[in-house]
Point group: C3
Chain length 445, copies 3
């Protein structure tokens, strides 16, 4: 990291500034009656802020469940989302305007935040196993591919995907899984000591879960047509998520040892309803339709964590750290299929079954191809990858007073001789203890 | 829990879906000029989201103060609020439309979230002592009773209670206290080792406190009449809460050992001003009037924690885990009385003193009767109640890597003989240490 | 603290209530067509809530990074912001109306929240070294001086400072540094054992960082002119912050040992872009202009933490606990200078270079003089100041079950004789361990 990371980060930022200088202008400039039209956009500002919270707090804290990887989860999330939203503004804008001036406003900010979501989802699949430099590279490539696929789905196919079940969730998941497959680490096939949570890291992750859960109606409605469709997207997502929670809790208890609940399921599967209702959120599917979609997604997501993740890790040789296949992949597919069914049943008049199916197919296909190529680029051994032993460990990339104690000396004999009798030396025991505890519970210091 | 919990949860969700299929439709369908009217509602969406955050993050994290009960606090909160908002939509809707089609929109979502608040308040009184199954049952019963009482107060009495001091806060508190009284556990009369906080669990609880505190103006104004009344509800709540903080800090320091502040008071009593100003929040009480109400509520709440909670636990045999009587019960009563005084002084032209008093009386009365009956149902020994020893302990209902270590073996002798001299065996000490620490500080692993 | 603190707090609150009774009325009363005009204001309510979250969760949690000072950080933050918003409403109102009736509404609530930000910034400079009583006094004085300076800058100079880079950030930082200089503690010149973070306290601090970062566009646009200017303030802040993150990460890695990232930089310097773009946020500086300002601010902030903070602590004898000079002071100056440059380049038609320079000068000057005087008042030894040894330690001002264990007895010999052989006594070791661990890791209990 010594110079590579700062140089790459600075170069990227300078490139962004130059490209923004060439292409990007305020939205207000293009409109004659700017006051009127900005007000329409300004109504979206609270929804933008909800999405913004999902991207930075939601995704960031959701990944803090690992006991020694909280700094990277929330910190690298902030880094790549900040890069991604600048790059997303550019590529989405250039595709949309065919290379002309890009006009930014609340709506483009929402779309830019959306584009970063794909990378953050993929980040979950490779969490703990790649370097900050690799993440910067992945962000640039993935957002480019995403913008291309989204353009295809929305502009060419004219398919419906208001909550982006296909173009963001399925796309991000399968892109990440492809990368994780190429970067497979045989040394971690039996797991890693650091790949587990501690009590409070699981609580930090719940902060992420809840802010994603609560603001998902804004995610699925932010770019919907104003009026009735936007309204329906909010209502459908609200009820889908509520039903999903019941299903996730029920199946978590059903598949677990002695009927207990599993924190991994609660943190993730409760959100599957938001993903799965995304494609048809603004359609006329009725609240009970959303609840059926949400229930199925919650159930499938838990079953995925229980049965598919181990299968992926061993047989398919894909190590999916956060289980993004269960939270975004499978529910994204359910969302795409639900969209096809809804269109077939006449819930939408703006899309066709064929176009919905094409959208789902290209989203998954583009993701897999894009992910494989990205994985090959990231395998080049010049990006500061952590060794197997250093995986899932913040101290590799983070300097902090917290980690200084870990470098202190090993315990020595704690028995001293005094007056001919052996006694435990309290001072020495205290120091040994601190050292031992810090080795085993680094989250304390 | 093995099969009972999942079967009950799945049955409840299927019932919800069937009832929604029969009764629930989009709000937009009933209105001819839907675009216009949804826009009025859409202005409430940011307030809905604030309330949503209070319900899921506010109430959820406020209860994470217990050192070993954070998963259940935030997790069961999510479960019962998700069930509750579906059931609340149904019972409130059926009462309102007299059994006809229910039309859901932003306003009904706010009311559905409100209805769950009653159960979450009652949850605080029995926290750590009842099972997830019991919570599901309590949610169904309590929301039904709440909807009945609210219908009586709002539609029949036509009383004012915009921030629901009486119908939600006093109701939820006294319902929960009645349940806690029926479920009294003599075995816990001298407290429980787990019934205390650790440093970071108190900080997690402050996340809940702050999100409740900040968004309370939205809670008290969300269903107010648009325009001047809604505006006043925001302003009054803002100043009531600010004054309440000063009073809570002052009295916390005054009643505590050597003038220190008590974290329990800061987490809870600072919110009493939001509860107490609820009934008259949209009335013409002036900002200084709100500040007087807030100050009194902050003071009374601290005194309640100091003197009433021990009295309740010993003499009345009601164990109130979170002290909901001091945060919701007493301030709810103050709110009801403040409403009576405000109406008597002419601050409102839509209600009478008699109707306000009737509303307060029936809210408390219905809550006590409903709580007693619910308590008796929950006493039936088939709901997977935790034993006294297992109270306030997540590991009873949660599976997590976190708890695996707790089942590891006990420490053995750590002294080994080498070359005829006794030495401490570092390996063995390290393993013993880990085991010992995990027993005493389970929050680490 | 025994009686002084509660008496001062109660007296202040009673004073506030009396002054509110005399001066403060609802905004709606002054307007004939109240419905119309409140709607304009009501559009600002979501922005107010974002600012509210920044003040209470953002500032509060940002300061929880210290391992033993989380209760005070988030708790005293709540106390002084609650007092400050009442006092800010009064002094800003009285200055604005020249002593006549004050009309409160959403806009005055935003301004009141803003006025508290100055004290919370100064709080960061003296964090851990002063008592709650001292903070109450500082809040009253600083907000008065702030309101005077702001009146000068906005009403007399008619300078632009929409995001308050000068009047809040530079002002708050230099005020706090002046206080910290006067209250210099030679006993802490070599640091303090408590002045460090633990792993989870750094994660709590990231909650503060992220909520500040995400909602900063609302902070910089909340009091902007509606329409185009407000729109630009949102967009410029969004891009400035994104660019700032890249710069902060790059320079953190560049200046640190072996290219690692430093959590202190990530928590603070990533926000410098929001501060620095404040003055010219609503001007026509183009998105790429904001990104240049943000990048420079991120870089300067990291360099400040690395090189200036040690220089301040040793040579200038100013101990700046949170490094507010690097987060608010320097970026505030950059903001003021950027404003001068932007006005000189014609990006604004409402202000002049001279007036911008005058605004910057008086903001810093007033802050230094006000801070010096406040520091002298706070040095009077009657305000319950903590001793050097008790600095950065919650247990001085907070009562909590958490701290009880710390007062338990010291470890004794853990070896017992049984059957003539020396053995370690497990019971005794367990108790000694608990005691030792609690001494060294008080955050556990």
């Amino acid at each position: 990291m010594r110079f590579k990371f700062p140089l790459i980060a600075i170069s990227l930022e300078i490139t962004m500034i130059v490209l923004f200088q060439l292409f990007v202008h305020y939205d207000t400039e293009q409109k004659p009656n700017s006051n009127k039209s900005t007000n329409v956009d300004f109504e979206l500002y609270p929804l933008f802020q909800d999405v913004h919270v999902m991207i930075f707090v939601g995704f960031g804290f959701l990944m803090t469940f690992l006991k020694k990887y909280g700094f990277s989860s929330v910190g690298i999330n902030l880094l790549i989302a900040s890069l991604g939203l600048q790059w997303g503004t550019l590529v989405q804008g250039l595709l949309h305007t065919h290379g002309n001036k890009i006009h930014v406003g609340i709506k483009s900010m929402i779309n830019a935040d959306f584009s970063t979501a794909t990378v953050l989802i993929s980040f979950g699949a490779v969490l703990g196993k790649i370097s900050p430099i690799q993440m910067l590279i992945m962000a640039i490539i993935e957002i480019t591919v995403f913008a291309g696929n989204e353009h295809l789905v929305v502009e060419i196919f004219e398919a419906s995907d208001v909550g982006a079940s296909m173009t963001i969730h399925a796309f991000g998941a399968y892109f990440g899984l492809a990368v994780a497959g190429v970067l497979y680490r045989p040394g971690l096939r039996r797991g890693h000591d650091n790949e587990e949570s501690v009590y409070h890291s699981d609580l930090f992750a719940m902060i992420g879960t809840l802010f994603l859960w609560m603001f998902w109606p804004s995610f699925n409605s932010a770019i919907a047509d104003p009026g009735e469709k936007q309204y329906k997207a909010i209502i459908n997502t609200y009820f889908s998520l509520a039903a999903c929670v019941l299903a996730a809790y029920a199946f978590s208890s059903l598949v677990e040892h002695r009927g207990k609940l599993d924190m991994v399921h609660i943190q993730n599967a409760t959100l599957a309803g938001g993903v799965a209702v995304g494609t048809c959120a603004d359609m006329d599917i009725n609240p009970y339709g959303s609840m059926i979609i949400g229930s199925i997604a919650g159930m499938v997501s838990v079953l995925g964590f229980k049965f598919l993740t181990p299968f992926f890790a061993t047989t398919l040789r894909i190590q999916d750290t956060c289980g993004v296949h269960n939270l975004h992949g499978l529910p994204g597919l359910i969302g795409g299929l639900a969209g096809i069914v809804a269109v077939a049943m006449g819930a939408s008049d703006t899309s066709t079954v064929a176009m919905q199916a094409a959208a789902l197919g290209t989203s998954v296909g583009t993701a897999l191809v894009g992910g494989l190529i990205t994985g090959l680029i990231l395998r080049i051994p010049i990006w500061g990858q952590p060794s197997d032993q250093n995986c899932y460990d913040d101290s590799v990339y983070w300097e902090s007073p917290v980690f200084h104690h870990l470098r202190s000396s090993k315990p020595k004999s704690n028995i001293k001789e005094a007056n001919g009798t052996k006694q435990i030396d309290p001072e020495s025991v205290a120091s040994s203890l601190k050292c031992l505890i810090l080795e085993q519970f680094p989250e304390n210091q």
